[in-house]
């Protein structure tokens, strides 16, 4: 009980230099088991069953890797920032401020009262006590951070280039790239927006929002399956097992010229993909299924009778059942030669108003994590060039980032290895 009195939440603010207090004592055990989940047990589903009064339990903030990489909460905001910090010391202060705010927000607690000394320290949109609601704050850096402003050029991660524009892409510069990316995910939208507002409030001088998109995942329907995208198909059914994480997911410093500070990190590719849902809804379901390679209702591969069955392309060499240009067959041909290009997919749906002809602007926030962007995402996307699905989708933004190594403990901070 003493912890409640002794440990005030941190009030650290950009360039105020107020050392954050520690709210760690109140963290619930939460979803520490995510690392044990295989691809067939969606962590979000597991978390959902653990929710009480509509809120998810706290997700431990500290660890070797950022928890939001593997754990996929149902509501999200993906926010790209450009750094406006004036120099390296200010950038360091920015990263430390983000760390201390994220540490408090993910643990929850009661924001400190301010007496007669100012406006309230918290927006209050979660009520007087900040509930964790399964919040994860995933922080990444983009290639432009490594220009001449902060003296970081020699620390550029080997695979971190500006996002490539693929044939059929329609990238809008105003919604592409960024020095920094923060993804806020939680059980409910209010917790996502609370975290975004809190961190923005404490870092106004250090970074400016560049572009932003909000996303959601519906509950899996039928229960026990996988949430669907706005085309009606389940999305992200088979991901690589975590037993291969060191080969596919986590950056391995030393290999391929990766700087040492990247240990524990993972490359994040964000692709904002408009889906022309009106057009799609005018397409015969069998044609839809041929484009994906799966049954729309069940999610089963067209050649199998269970959701997680591996398609047997060897038995279907001409594409009689699953066409050779079906999305899932091109993305992952399941050959020894393509095994090293597999990625950890994490997609949310977005929905944001209408376009110029009154059609709904909705689609997918595709994100994926990997060890090497060129070997993995770009290889996959290259195979997908001119897939039949391109008529119904249009990638318009996103970027390449390195999701920073996890914050190890109460004295660690995001990017410590990069900035010290």
């Amino acid at each position: 009980m003493g912890e409640a009195e002794d440990k005030l939440p941190g009030r650290r603010s950009f360039l105020r230099g107020v050392a954050g207090g520690v709210a760690g004592g109140v963290v619930a055990g939460g979803a520490a088991g995510y690392a044990l989940h295989g691809p067939q047990q969606d962590p979000a589903l597991a978390a959902d069953t653990a929710s009480l009064d509509g809120r998810l339990p706290a997700v431990p903030f500290h660890g070797k890797h950022q928890p939001g990489i593997l754990l996929q909460q149902p509501q999200t905001a993906v926010v790209s920032f450009d750094a406006t910090a004036g120099n390296r010391a200010e950038l360091t202060d920015l990263f430390q401020t983000i760390t201390s705010r994220a540490r408090f927000l993910t643990a929850g607690g009661t924001p400190p009262p301010v007496g007669i000394d100012g406006p309230p320290s918290d927006s209050g949109i979660l009520g007087p006590t900040v509930v964790p609601d399964g919040l994860t704050v995933t922080f990444g850096v983009g290639p432009t951070l490594f220009d001449d402003r902060y003296g970081l050029a020699s620390q550029l991660p080997a695979s971190l280039t500006p996002m490539r524009s693929f044939p059929n892409d329609n990238l809008d510069p105003a919604q592409t790239g960024g020095d920094l990316i923060l993804q806020f995910s939680a059980g409910n939208t209010d917790a996502v927006l609370h975290a975004l507002r809190d961190i923005a409030k404490h870092t106004r001088g250090g970074m400016q929002i560049n572009w932003r998109i909000d996303g959601f995942r519906g509950p899996a329907r039928p229960a026990g399956t996988v949430p669907r995208n706005m085309l009606g198909f389940m999305d992200g059914i088979l991901n690589p097992p975590l037993s291969e994480a060191n080969d596919l997911l986590w950056v391995q410093p030393g290999a391929a010229g990766e700087p040492a500070w990247t240990a524990g990190g993972s490359y994040l590719v964000v692709r904002l993909i408009r889906m022309f849902v009106e057009f799609w809804d005018r397409v015969d379901v069998y044609e839809q299924q041929q484009m994906f390679g799966r049954d729309r209702a069940t999610g089963f591969p067209l050649d199998a009778d269970s959701l997680y069955a591996l398609p047997d392309y060897a038995a279907d060499p001409t594409g009689a059942v699953i066409p050779l240009n079906a999305h899932m067959r091109l993305a992952n041909p399941r050959t020894p030669q393509t095994a090293s290009s597999r990625i950890m997919r994490r997609a949310w749906n977005y929905d944001r108003g209408i376009d110029q002809v009154g059609d709904l602007d909705m689609g997918l926030i595709f994100t994926c994590y990997q060890q090497d962007i060129q070997r993995q995402f770009e290889a996959v996307q290259t195979r997908l060039i001119n897939e039949p699905l391109v008529d119904y989708i249009s990638p318009f933004g996103g970027g390449y980032f390195l999701a920073l190594p996890g914050v190890r403990d109460a004295s660690d901070w995001y990017g410590r290895g990069l900035l010290t």
């Binding site: 409640a4 007669i116 106004r204």
Partner: protein
């Protein structure tokens, strides 16, 4: 799941340490009425405490937890309705504590003093700014505005003369300093009443073709949209006349004392909303210059409040750091030929730097409204 017990625990821990003083409230609650300001209560040790306070009086008011030696306020509950319960939370350190009751239409009362021994640091008590403290700053500000209006009378008469003579090039050049002068008077606009709409109103609600839209922005619109001298003359006349009338009326106008602190962030809040967005650019592309004038107006308020703030606001140096940075970024957009880069022409990175500095300056300015709010003691 320990997060629910976290809060409950804090409340239990805090209330368990308190000795309630009867009244009609629940046990462990500190009661206030017209005869007793908190009665007898105790604090066993430092740490974070949440008090339950019950207003047993038949009027509303304010309850402060103060340091009785200095009058400094640790925490306050304002707008405390009769018959209601409120909580007050703070980190209690070593020191002296007493409740002070400021019920409406009732003389202030201070309750018994509770001493927490030792050397533990808790929340600092801020000595309230009083109405009396703000009388001199307000007087100085009145004089500042008067001097500004006097200057503005000459500037708007010059502008009026330009337009009447049909020298619109000169009018465009004389419009800016006049408008900027007005934009340095931001804490007085409310006091100006309808004069502010006449002199510096936006077209928003009226539309740009409505003859009721008058003032600086109306002239800007016409001067930068090819309107003729004869079309603009009535507006130039009216602007000069309105400014003269305002100056004549000014001695009878009053700025509420609370505005002095409040406007320290509100002036730049408006600049962020209307100038840095480009909303108030009616053609001259000078909203960055306007923002600089707004900073000058903000600095005037800060300088008047400085003696009060310097002992009360540890964030004051950061206010100046960020105002300086914002000012330097804006001045960099003043081109050698005397023209200004408009917001829409700013490169993305420059615009982000300006918006970031303005946002941080506003965060640093925001507490001043509370700190410089005049309070009864």
């Amino acid at each position: 799941m320990r997060r629910t017990p976290f809060l409950t625990g804090a409340l239990l821990a805090a209330t368990a340490l308190l000795t309630a003083c009867g009244g009609s409230a629940a046990p462990n609650t500190i009661s206030f009425n017209n005869a007793s300001c908190g009665g007898t209560w105790k604090l066993a040790k430092p740490g974070w405490h949440t008090f339950d306070l019950y207003n047993g009086n038949d009027v509303g008011g304010e309850i402060d937890l103060i340091d009785p030696r200095t009058g400094g306020v640790y925490a306050e509950v304002d707008q405390f309705g009769p018959g209601t319960t409120q909580t007050m939370s703070l980190d209690v350190g070593s020191g002296r504590y007493a409740f002070r009751c400021l019920f409406d239409d009732t003389d202030p009362m201070t309750g018994s003093t509770v001493t927490v021994p030792g050397h533990v640091k808790g929340f600092a008590a801020t000595v309230p700014v009083t109405f009396n403290d703000l009388v001199a700053p307000e007087k100085e500000y009145q004089a500042y505005v008067e001097a500004g209006l006097q200057k503005l009378v000459g500037q708007t008469e010059t502008l009026d003369g330009d337009v009447q003579r049909g020298n619109l090039a000169q009018a465009r050049s004389d419009w800016l300093p006049a408008h900027l002068e007005y934009e340095t008077l931001g804490a007085a606009y409310d006091a100006f009443g309808s004069f502010d709409d006449e002199i510096d109103g936006r077209a928003d609600a009226l539309g740009v073709t409505n003859p009721q839209w008058t003032g600086f922005y109306r002239l800007e619109y016409g001067l930068w949209h090819g309107q003729s001298a004869s079309e603009l003359t009535p507006y130039a006349n009216k602007l000069a006349a309105d400014v003269r009338a305002l100056l004549a009326t000014w001695p009878t106008m009053e700025i509420p004392l609370i505005d002095i602190g409040l406007r320290t962030h509100e002036i730049l809040e408006n600049a962020l909303e209307f100038q840095l967005t480009g909303h108030d650019d009616y053609g001259s592309g000078t909203t960055l210059a306007t923002t600089l004038a707004n900073i000058q107006g903000t600095r005037e308020l800060l300088s008047l409040l400085h003696p009060l703030l310097v002992t009360r606001y540890p964030g004051l140096p950061a206010v100046y750091t960020w105002l300086d940075r914002l000012q330097a970024l804006l001045e960099a957009e003043h081109l050698p030929n005397g023209t200004w880069v408009s917001v829409s022409q700013l490169p993305a990175a420059a615009r982000q730097d300006i918006d970031a500095a303005c946002g941080q300056a506003l965060e640093e300015l925001a507490p001043i409204a509370s700190i410089a709010e005049p309070r009864n003691t």
